[in-house]
């Protein structure tokens, strides 16, 4: 029952993110836009490229969706609303997100097209750049909570939210989340202006619909992770816990989308340089500061 409710709310969230994305892209707010887009995609012929790696090509969009859903499974929307409250929840988020990379790699290779291939390898090239900035801030969050349980992580922010307790970690995690969900300005693997769609380029019809859905769920999942790790999860006055979770998650995903709307795409070399030379040292400094703070003011 709980699982069903959470999956449905994830899908609803993904739908709202799609509405927002369409709003930014066209300048018109239409609630039905993603529904029509989905109907159009489902009705369209799903073309398979000439000599694909069929297994990879078919598996990739589904794997992307599954990875996003699995990561969401350990994130609580309220003290009781969590699909699986694993004792290793914070680590599990990383584990599930790692398969986003695998999905993109499979899509890039499976399409047998140069645009997709370059897009897939690009995402792999960035892996250390962004995954370190996901893992290390989460470590600092778990340090404060002294637990990997996501519900414990939320309760540890009772006094002060992590966004204030470890602001460096929040900024790094937020930026790296955008890179994991390949949102603009980090949309290098699916860049329209560079690669005509990149890993998405050869997908049409149902397969593209699944791919897009997977990406929207991924955005919501990452926003939920940001909320749980940094914004005090379900905590807030007056409104019921699930409502606070929903508000925060939607606000974070809106911020992620808006950020990309007003910025040009980052250069591949600059992304790597900044993440390696600035991001990783900052993440280590964050770990150190939080470590000291946990000792003097938990």
């Amino acid at each position: 029952m709980n699982t069903l409710v959470i999956v449905l709310s994830l899908l609803a969230g993904a739908y709202l993110v799609a509405v927002l994305e369409a709003w930014l892209a066209t300048g018109r707010f239409r609630l039905a836009a993603p529904a029509w887009a989905a109907v159009a995609l489902l009705g369209r012929e799903s073309i398979v490229p000439r000599t694909p790696d069929r297994i990879f090509f078919e598996t990739a969009p589904v794997l992307l969706l599954i990875a996003a859903l699995l990561a969401a499974a350990v994130l609580p929307l309220s003290p009781s609303m969590v699909m699986a409250n694993l004792a290793t929840g914070a680590l599990f988020v990383n584990a599930a997100l790692a398969y986003v990379l695998v999905a993109l790699l499979m899509a890039g290779w499976g399409s047998d097209s140069a645009y997709a291939l370059v897009g897939g390898w690009r995402f792999l090239g960035q892996v250390i750049a962004y995954s370190m900035l996901i893992v290390m801030p989460i470590t600092a969050v778990a340090m404060r909570a002294e637990s990997l349980l996501t519900t414990d992580i939320v309760s540890s922010q009772e006094a002060v939210w992590n966004i204030l307790y470890q602001p460096i970690g929040f900024v790094l995690f937020f930026v790296a989340s955008m890179a994991v969900a390949f949102l603009p300005p980090f949309d290098l693997p699916i860049a329209v202006g560079d690669l005509a769609g990149g890993v998405e380029a050869e997908y049409t019809g149902v397969r593209l619909a699944v791919f897009r859905l997977g990406r929207m769920v991924l955005v919501i999942t990452l926003a939920a992770a940001t909320t749980v790790f940094y914004l005090g999860g379900w905590m807030g006055p007056v409104l019921p816990p699930w409502a606070w979770s929903a508000i925060k998650i939607l606000a974070v995903s809106a911020a992620m989308l808006l950020g990309g709307y007003t910025l040009p795409r980052i250069r591949e070399a600059h992304l790597l340089a900044w993440c390696w030379k600035l991001g990783i040292p900052l993440a280590l400094i964050n770990l150190f500061i939080v470590g000291v703070m946990v000792l003097i003011w938990p």
Partner: protein, 175 residues
């Protein structure tokens, strides 16, 4: 009883999946398929850990293998002559030696499993959080020096290798 048998079913399922993917590694001639088959074989092992209630180890295995095997994939594609596998390249080499090594390895593993004094077998696995704590104590207590030394050595080696390979530094040195 029902629970135990369900657990056994899961362990068996993931074990067979791991072996199946492992076989696929050598049955295909595409580097990419081979690398990803290995990835999913290792993921199945991780799932096996989970089925055996070793949560932390399972999740860690699943996480590490995704990135590690993906990185291996790009190196296989870069350095092998026929990454697409359209030349139907043979994936196994030195067959006699590898069969011998495989049989010896299997026998050794089985021997260790059967003849080690494992001590008293507990009736139920400790809770996941407890396991994580115990593992942490083991890694950061008794074995800390070993792990830290190994970690720092590997990191230094990686940075040094990168620095040596940087063309800008070479150019400066030559000038």
């Amino acid at each position: 009883m029902a629970l135990i048998s369900l657990q056994t079913v899961f362990i068996a399922f993931f074990g067979i999946a791991a072996i199946g993917f492992g076989i696929w590694v050598f049955r295909t001639s595409s580097m990419m398929r081979s690398a990803l088959a290995l990835l999913f074989s290792q993921t199945a092992l991780g799932a096996m850990f989970l089925a055996m209630q070793a949560e932390f180890l399972g999740v860690l295995q699943i996480m590490m293998m995704a990135t590690e095997m993906s990185i291996m994939a790009i190196f296989m594609v870069m350095f092998m002559m026929d990454p697409g596998g359209l030349g139907a390249m043979e994936m196994s080499h030195q067959k006699r030696l590898s069969i011998l090594a495989g049989v010896a390895g299997a026998l050794a593993t089985a021997g260790i499993a059967l003849f080690t004094q494992w001590g008293v077998v507990v009736t139920s696995a400790p809770a996941a959080a407890e396991q994580t704590r115990a593992l942490g104590t083991e890694l950061l207590g008794r074995s800390m020096l070993i792990f830290e030394t190994a970690g720092v050595t590997i990191l230094t080696a990686m940075i040094a290798a990168t620095a040596v390979a940087l063309p800008t530094l070479q150019r400066k040195r030559n000038a």
